[in-house]
């Protein structure tokens, strides 16, 4: 009985979890739901959006990543990495924010 309940429960959770791994977009979208203010997650999410030509959505996520990168608890190395990547994003002029 206990084993049956465990197997059924774990099976359902696993089934849901595996679907997250189908594409970079599904993976990082879900990761951003669990960690909504982690710069690395948000930058990966923005990259996945950009690769799927969802440029406006990517720009919104990038802005959130920039704000989150300035929070006190973010490791300095993570902050620098995030800011560098944001600069790279803007340098590519994908969001129309650079002259």
């Amino acid at each position: 009985m206990i084993l049956g309940v465990l197997l059924a429960g774990y099976g359902v959770v696993s089934h849901t979890r595996i679907r997250v791994w189908e594409t970079p977009l599904t993976l990082w979208q879900h990761a951003a739901e669990v960690a909504p203010c982690k710069p690395r997650v948000l930058l990966n999410y923005a990259t996945a959006l950009r690769d799927d030509d969802l440029i406006e959505e990517a720009a919104v996520v990038i802005e959130t990543a920039r704000r989150c990168a300035e929070l006190a608890w973010v490791l300095e190395a993570d902050r620098q990495d995030a800011l560098t990547r944001i600069t790279e994003f803007k340098g590519l002029n994908l969001f129309g924010q650079n002259p």
């Binding site: 084993l3 197997l7 099976g11 594409t23 490791l75 990495d81």
Partner: protein
């Protein structure tokens, strides 16, 4: 249930879970990086890298991962049987197949290295639980080497193999062998500590142990209640509970030693190298926890068997 029926059901369950993923899933996260690494011979993960030269498209890669996971399920059932779980061994295998904390290693194509390494360690442990002859010892060493050459994390075989032998054969020499393995593994990990890919981000060892303990406690609790699974958890937000987390891991280790709990010891041994070797800005992740799940399912199997035994002797309340 007959063994053949069980294995048919296990295969069907695996395909039901991963069938769609195998057909449609793309490469994600660091997959392109590992495929590229596999195209250059050498490196520490020789066998895993070599495998990328042979299997490098998404569908065969995902199919291979499911096949490797099924192979590991077979080894877990074999290990559980040799550890005395008899009929419950099949339940233990099914739990391992379906446990949510195994999904990252299987669904993530780069989890291949983890699955290969776990296979090597598990095979060595299955052999260690049987009679020790020159042939089986050669088999244990070969399987362990296979694991280590697939991924460095298989170094835990140095402790797990004699620990399994001590649990099954109840001889002091295996405990001494495990102690020697512990010294060897820690020495190897200290020697190996330069693994980081972002030198500027290396934490001091105390901070690292705290953060990694935090990740370990989270994953250990997720073995029971697998909620909020993610590829990149934000541990920095909760850094202030790192010290209590490290204390918790210490208490669990003391409990495992006092109660001589093999399964809890197994999980801690799998975690131990991760407390020593720094992978900066990348704390313990679910696919790296794959082998620890074996300890959990063995623990559940043991508890269920004890419960059934108690009910058989004293009757149900």
């Amino acid at each position: 249930m007959r063994a053949s029926t069980y294995w048919v059901l296990v295969g069907a369950a695996a395909m039901a879970l991963y069938g769609t993923h195998v057909r449609w899933a793309d490469f994600v996260w660091e997959d392109p990086r590992w495929i590229q690494a596999g195209m250059v011979l050498g490196g520490r993960r020789v066998l895993a890298n070599l495998s990328w030269r042979l299997v490098f498209d998404p569908v065969p890669s995902h199919l291979l991962n499911v096949a490797l996971h099924l192979g590991n399920v077979v080894l877990v059932v074999g290990l559980a049987r040799r550890l005395g779980l008899r009929g419950w061994a099949y339940g233990v295998g099914a739990l391992f197949l379906l446990h949510p904390l195994t999904t990252q290693a299987v669904a993530y194509a780069s989890g291949r290295a983890e699955l290969l390494a776990a296979g090597g360690v598990l095979l060595a442990c299955v052999l260690a639980a049987g009679p020790w002859t020159p042939l089986t010892v050669v088999g244990m060493i070969s399987a362990s080497l296979f694991g280590v050459l697939s991924k460095e994390s298989a170094v835990v075989a140095l402790i797990l193999v004699p620990l399994v032998a001590a649990e099954v054969h109840r001889q002091a020499r295996y405990v001494w062998l495990a102690a020697g393995g512990l010294v060897g593994m820690v020495a190897g990990c200290v020697w190996y500590m330069d693994i980081g890919y972002a030198p500027g981000a290396i934490l001091n060892w105390v901070s690292w142990v705290q953060m990694q303990s935090l990740a370990s406690v989270r994953l250990l609790s997720m073995l029971v209640v697998p909620m909020h699974q993610t590829v990149d958890f934000d541990y920095d937000v909760v850094w202030h509970i790192g010290l209590p987390a490290a204390a918790t891991i210490g208490l669990v280790a003391i409990y495992a030693l006092i109660s001589r709990s093999f399964a809890v010891g197994w999980m801690l041994v799998v975690i131990l190298p991760r407390l020593i070797v720094q992978t900066p800005r990348s704390y313990l992740n679910e696919h790296q926890f794959y082998l620890a799940v074996v300890g959990f399912v063995l623990l559940v199997g043991t508890m269920l068997q004890q419960r059934a035994h108690t009910e058989a002797v004293y009757g149900t309340a």
